[in-house]
């Protein structure tokens, strides 16, 4: 299958008042054509930084890609000029953000904001743009689109705004859509609607989607493949079936165990003890070792990346099951 996105050994550095930190420490993954890749992990694991780095939207001046590269449709876009990156954004690759309530500009109409990608990336005239916007608003399930285009964001509900955000992201038919926790801020019923909408769009357009979330239920619902991130590294990668049936990394197991289950109502909910360490104070060796129930002596040394039959895992527990040698990182 063709790769839409090929990220290899990506490192991002942030300059903070207390020196520089690396929220991404060597991340490599691919997104295939027409595939939905889920990225999961707790807050602060580097999920959003990964997507911002791919989009070229890292905060200017304070952060940079310090190592590795991003190939998009075969083109190296790691250090592309802002002008050329702009031609991709909203066009070939686009993004939906977590907070629909604050992600639309309150002083511009829905129509004005939706017209921007079309004005930037197509040669359509104003009337054609309006026709296209109304067509796309219908596609994302917004009633009375011809009225909605005249309205301001505060006149719409959260679910409606997220539909508008999705419309904004897909209006130029991108090849890659990055959805950064698009349902986290929404009511459960609206969540299901949005997930179904994304599934429908994917079915109709065959675009590739990177779906960032910490809701594993959503992952099971929509993703083909899953990446688990912890402290800026990928600790496990597997197709969705393998991930749910045979998770390998203790962190993945912890995440899965923390999901509330129907038959366990009376028992206390499982949690992973401790919390994600701050980037300034990462434990040496395996960064999960201080929270890991299976940690042993070897974990003080950085774990190898182990390629198993159907998944990849960065953990000492599986060092012996390696198929064809480890890269020792």
């Amino acid at each position: 299958m063709k790769n839409i996105l090929d990220v290899s050994n990506l490192e991002v550095e942030f300059q903070t008042r207390r020196g520089s930190v690396r929220p991404l420490r060597g991340v490599s993954f691919q997104v295939h054509e027409g595939e939905t890749l889920g990225i999961v992990g707790e807050s602060g694991c580097g999920k959003s930084v990964t997507s911002l780095a791919v989009m070229g939207l890292l905060p200017r001046g304070k952060s940079e890609i310090s190592r590795g590269q991003v190939l998009f449709e075969g083109q190296n876009i790691t250090h592309l000029k802002e002008r050329d990156k702009r031609k991709l954004r909203g066009n070939k690759m686009s993004m939906i953000f977590q907070e629909p309530m604050t992600s639309l500009n309150p002083v511009f109409t829905i129509g004005d904001q939706l017209s921007q990608p079309l004005k930037k990336h197509t040669r359509l005239g104003n009337k054609e743009i309006m026709v296209k916007i109304i067509e796309m608003l219908k596609l994302v399930g917004i009633p009375r689109p011809d009225q909605i285009v005249q309205q301001y964001p505060h006149q719409l509900s959260g679910g409606m705004r997220q539909r508008v955000m999705i419309c904004l992201a897909i209006i130029c038919k991108p090849d890659l859509l990055i959805a950064d926790e698009p349902t986290t801020a929404l009511d459960v019923t609206i969540q299901a609607q949005i997930i179904n909408l994304l599934k429908k769009i994917k079915h109709e357009t065959n675009m590739s989607i990177i779906f960032i979330t910490h809701d594993l239920g959503v992952v099971a619902e929509i993703c083909d493949r899953v990446i688990v991130m912890y402290t800026g590294q990928i600790v496990e990668e597997a197709d969705v079936r393998t991930f749910f049936n045979h998770p390998k990394h203790p962190y993945s197991k912890g995440l899965l165990a923390s999901m509330p289950k129907e038959d366990e109502r009376k028992q206390p909910l499982m949690t992973i003890r401790g919390h994600v360490p701050s980037l300034n104070e990462l434990p040496s060796g395996c960064t999960f070792s201080n929270r890991c129930p299976m940690a042993f002596a070897k974990c003080h040394v950085a774990p190898p990346t182990v390629h198993l039959k159907e998944q990849m895992c960065r953990c000492w527990l599986y060092a012996d099951e390696q198929e064809g040698g480890s890269d020792g990182k």
Binding site: R86, T102, S103, Q113
Partner: protein, 305 residues
């Protein structure tokens, strides 16, 4: 909406009433005008007669009630010096003040908003730091002193501009710049900080993700959000400029309301002073009111109640 207008109208009346009351008693503290109009050796009887004709022999509260009841009808009496209508004198010098305030207003807007936006974009660079430093200076320097400095360098030493008066278009330059500096500095600082706030917002990231350029974000998307609070400040600034014009006029002998009030104070020409204060406070209140209306017009989320 109409409820809002009525409320503001009542507020405006109260503000003007308080301003007039305050000034009424303050100017009377400055002394009795009758002594100024008569020769120093005038006999006591003559002074008493003159004081009686002007009504200054009545108790203060009677004078005050008399003044207010006339002022309500727009009658501020006649000038003690020229015997012309006091309000008429003030109104005739108002165009000069308005000209000065408006040109300073336009100048500060045209200069300050782009500098503020650029400073925010270039945050923490040398340009930004220099700009912020200069704005602090611009706000700290009193305009009467700055005006004198300008006169000394550009008029006396370099002979580029006249020292004062309102004769040629070029005589506008120094008073306009002097008056504009303060609000210019204020608007630069305010624009910069509002732009910095807005540039951090999620919706700016959204529009960037849609492929909109930084230039367009600065000049359209972020600017409109930042302008909402800026507009209120700017509109208020027009009021401040009108006040400031009073001082600047005196430094540059600009024949406006300020000069008129100043001269009237020197002569203890109370009716003219009161008419001047009335006009300035009226305009100041109206401008504030207009600022609120403007704010609601540009911000769709605010519907006035």
């Amino acid at each position: 909406m109409s409820e809002f207008v009525i409320k503001r109208f009542v507020q405006t009346i109260i503000v003007i009433f308080l301003a007039l009351t305050g000034v009424f008693f303050l100017v009377r503290l400055s002394g009795d005008p009758t002594l100024l109009f008569l020769p120093p050796d005038a006999p006591k009887g003559q002074i008493e007669v003159f004081r009686h004709t002007l009504g200054f022999d009545r108790p203060m509260y009677v004078q005050y009630i008399d003044f207010i009841s006339h002022a309500i009808h727009g009658d501020f009496g006649d000038s003690l010096v020229t015997k012309e209508s006091a309000l008429g004198m003030i109104l005739s010098s108002f165009p000069a003040t308005l000209q000065l305030a408006l040109s300073a207003f336009v100048l500060s807007l045209v200069v300050a908003i782009p500098i503020g936006v650029f400073s925010a974009y270039k945050r923490d660079t040398l340009f930004d730091k220099l700009g912020v430093g200069l704005t602090v200076l611009g706000q700290a320097i009193p305009s009467f002193w700055l005006g004198l400095l300008f006169i000394y360098f550009f008029a006396v030493k370099l002979h580029w501009f006249p020292t004062g008066g309102r004769t040629t278009p070029i005589s506008m330059v120094l008073p306009t710049v002097t008056l504009a500096i303060y609000s210019m500095a204020r608007i630069v600082r305010f624009t910069r900080s509002k732009m910095l706030d807005v540039l951090k917002k999620d919706y700016i990231r959204t529009i960037r993700a849609a492929g909109v350029s930084t230039f367009e974000i600065l000049t359209k998307y972020a600017l409109k959000n930042a302008l909402l609070p800026i507009i209120t400040l700017i509109a208020l600034d027009l009021g401040v400029l009108l006040e400031g014009a009073v001082i600047t006029e005196i430094v540059f002998s600009w024949p406006g309301v300020g000069m008129q009030i100043m001269n009237a104070l020197m002569d203890r020409d109370f009716p003219v002073v009161m008419a001047g204060i009335f006009l300035i406070s009226l305009i100041y209140s109206v401008i504030n009111f207009a600022a609120d209306l403007l704010y609601s017009a540009v911000n769709p989320q605010i519907r006035l109640k």
